[in-house]
């Protein structure tokens, strides 16, 4: 399988009064054509920043982003929207209400990216495309004349997805697409996303804090902690045999599941100017040792397709015993 998207050694640092905040710190990740990769982690771990850099909404500090052979990371974000590459990567935003222009009818929201990026199409062809993509997303034509405030949450989510799909992207970045929806509506949208991926063969980068949702719609999952990917594995493997103690703690915190590991204590250390030689999870980790405080672990292969950044991975038993 060829990669639809290649991210390598990506870094995004923000200057703050007290030093550089390492929001994304050396992330390497590749997404195959038609693949759905989940990106999970707690708030502040850098998953949204990573998504925004990859979606080319903001510039990276260093690193490469390649999409279909083109080095799109080198194009400044403020100019990216005017290039043809913009049509390849599209974003579905978190809050369907906040991310739609309240002054635009549903059809005009969906038409907007076509106007900007598909000037080659005739007016009529663009209108036809709007109807086509709306139908794909399950939006009845009668709703296309409505403004966002006249639509339900689920309908607004469909408009947001249709808008992203209008220009036929190869990659969709989904930033918490269902977190603002009720469970009954969430189920509808998750089914729609799975169906669209199967039908259109596009790739997803699915950013979410909800592990349960990720489990249902992703082929692989990347777990992020303080700017770094700490574990990357096929979904099934990650959920049945997590290797990183942080992943195990995250899984255990899901309500409605039997508890196998001790709860995490404390809060994440500061992402501002972190010591490069200390594991980011040290101090909060039940398995932490001297080694973790003198050398940061790399994301190393554990099993085929399964990588983990930990000096003391959980192994096959997946039961955590204090060392």
């Amino acid at each position: 399988m060829s990669a639809a998207l290649d991210i390598s050694h990506l870094e995004k640092h923000f200057p703050t009064k007290t030093g550089l905040l390492h929001a994304v710190d050396g992330v390497t990740l590749s997404i195959a054509a038609g693949e759905s990769v989940g990106l999970v982690g707690e708030s502040g771990c850098g998953k949204s920043t990573l998504a925004r850099v990859v979606a080319r909404l903001i510039d990276s500090t260093s690193g490469r982003i390649t999409c279909a052979g083109a080095d799109i990371g080198a194009i400044p974000a403020r100019r990216f929207g005017t290039t043809a590459h913009r049509a390849r990567i599209q974003v579905v935003f978190q809050d369907p209400t906040d991310s739609l222009n309240p002054h635009l009818r549903a059809q005009d929201s969906i038409l907007d990216p076509l106007k900007r990026l598909r000037g080659d199409l005739s007016r009529e062809a663009r209108r036809r495309r709007v109807r086509e993509v709306a139908a794909q997303c399950g939006l009845p034509e009668a709703l296309l004349d409505r403004y966002p405030h006249q639509l339900s949450g689920g309908q607004k989510a469909r408009v947001g997805i249709a808008r992203a799909l209008a220009v036929e992207p190869q990659i969709l970045i989904l930033d918490e697409p269902t977190s603002a929806l009720d469970v009954s509506v969430q189920a509808v949208i998750l089914h729609l996303l799975a169906e669209l991926r199967a039908r259109l063969g596009i790739s997803y980068l699915f950013v979410s804090h909800d592990l349960n949702v990720v489990r249902l719609v992703c082929d692989r999952v990347a777990v992020m902690y303080l700017g770094k990917i700490v574990e990357l594995a096929p979904t099934e493997a990650l959920f049945t045999a997590p290797q990183h103690p942080y992943t195990a703690a995250l899984l255990d915190a899901i309500p409605g599941k039997a508890r196998r590991h001790p709860r995490l204590e404390g809060e994440p250390s500061s992402p501002i100017a972190p010591d490069p030689n200390v594991c980011r999870f040290a101090g909060r980790c039940p398995r932490g040792s001297e080694l973790c405080r003198s050398a940061a672990p790399n994301l190393a292969p554990h099993a085929p397709g399964h990588r983990v950044a930990c000096h003391h991975p959980l192994g096959t038993s997946a039961t955590m015993v204090a060392p």
Binding site: L250, P255, G256, R263, E267
Partner: protein, 330 residues
């Protein structure tokens, strides 16, 4: 059996709005025993929070509240007498709200806010109140209570804010804690820690809890009994395990099937058709009937029956899934 700690019967709430009268709650009834934990579960707009706010007398003047009985132990709160509610709120029944940072006063230190409550209800002042506040902070396991005492809400994390609010709620040893979506907006690991804390403190003090949540998994983990709400009705009440093993109301079954935690694959995740009905319109006796696969003529005509499937399992449905239960499990 002794009387329940909180008893609510036939609670109805209507809101006067510019677009007409919203029938937010329709003859809702529930009770909580001492030391018990009850969850009110439902989608947004189902009336979970309104139920709690109505009991506590926290709804504004646009709300018209009627009930045949609201009683805390032997204190009658049915008429919504402000003086009686004032004595109960904070002291005997405390509330923890969603989004703790917004619920706390942004321009007073967290220690000062704790002292306010202690002074108001226990009449202690000065160093004694300060010590009590420090104790309360330590009980919710805030590291370095003395250091955090002078912090403002914006200086601490969301999880810490929620701990502070729990400390404030528990400062007066209430008999009942109402937690309204206490972990919405928090990370799963923080959510787990906060819920563990509430469980542990409730256990240690023999306090009852009413957990309001949209998350069935959370309710399953932390509550012994669950009441499911839909469009201002309580459609089913039962012991947690019984409810999950054999949901009798089609809405309960639908909610379980739509919850990602409860299913093994996307194929098994099934949406609930339709949305909540418009509560401003005249509604059929069963407010779920428009979304229901099992509906028949009787659902739109006859008053909603309340059927007891066991001592603790009650369902409000003309066609509960009792007879099909064995087939569903097979």
């Amino acid at each position: 059996m002794s009387a329940p700690l909180l008893d609510v019967q036939n609670l109805s709430v209507r809101f006067r709005t510019r677009d007409g009268i919203v029938h937010a709650l329709d003859r809702v009834g529930f009770s909580i025993e001492r030391r018990e934990s009850l969850a009110l579960v439902g989608e947004s707009g189902s009336g979970k929070s309104v139920s709690a706010f109505a009991v506590m007398g926290l709804l504004g003047p646009a709300a018209e509240v009627t009930a045949s009985r609201i009683a805390l132990d032997d204190t009658d709160l049915t008429g919504g007498d402000p003086a009686a509610l004032q004595r109960v709120r904070g002291a005997r029944v405390a509330m923890v709200f969603q989004n703790a940072r917004a619920a706390l006063n942004p321009i007073r230190t967290i220690g000062r806010q704790l002292m306010d409550v202690i002074t108001r209800h226990h009449g202690i002042k000065g160093p004694a109140a300060r010590n009590a506040a420090l104790d309360a902070l330590a009980q919710v396991r805030i590291p370095d209570p003395a250091g955090r005492f002078e912090a403002y809400p914006f200086e601490i994390s969301g999880g810490m804010c929620q701990r502070v609010m729990i400390a404030i709620a528990l400062a007066c040893q209430p008999e009942l804690l109402i937690a309204d979506e206490p972990t919405t907006g928090l990370d799963v690991t923080t959510q787990a820690a906060i819920m563990d804390l509430i469980d542990a403190l409730a256990d240690a003090r023999g306090m009852a809890t009413l957990l309001i949540t949209h998350d069935l998994g959370l309710a399953r983990d932390h509550c012994g009994r669950i009441a499911v709400m839909h469009a201002g009705h309580i459609v089913e009440t039962g012991q947690t395990e019984a409810l999950f093993a054999a949901p009798a109301h089609p809405y309960t079954a639908g909610l379980i099937a739509a919850t990602p935690t409860e299913v093994s694959s996307l194929a098994a995740l099934s949406p609930i058709e339709g949305g909540l009905p418009d509560l401003r319109q005249a509604l059929p006796p069963c407010r779920f009937s428009a979304r229901c696969a099992r509906k028949s003529k009787v659902c739109g005509e006859a008053p909603l029956p309340r059927t007891a499937l066991s001592d603790s399992h009650v369902v409000a449905c003309h066609h509960p899934a009792v007879l099909t239960k064995t087939r569903a499990l097979a």
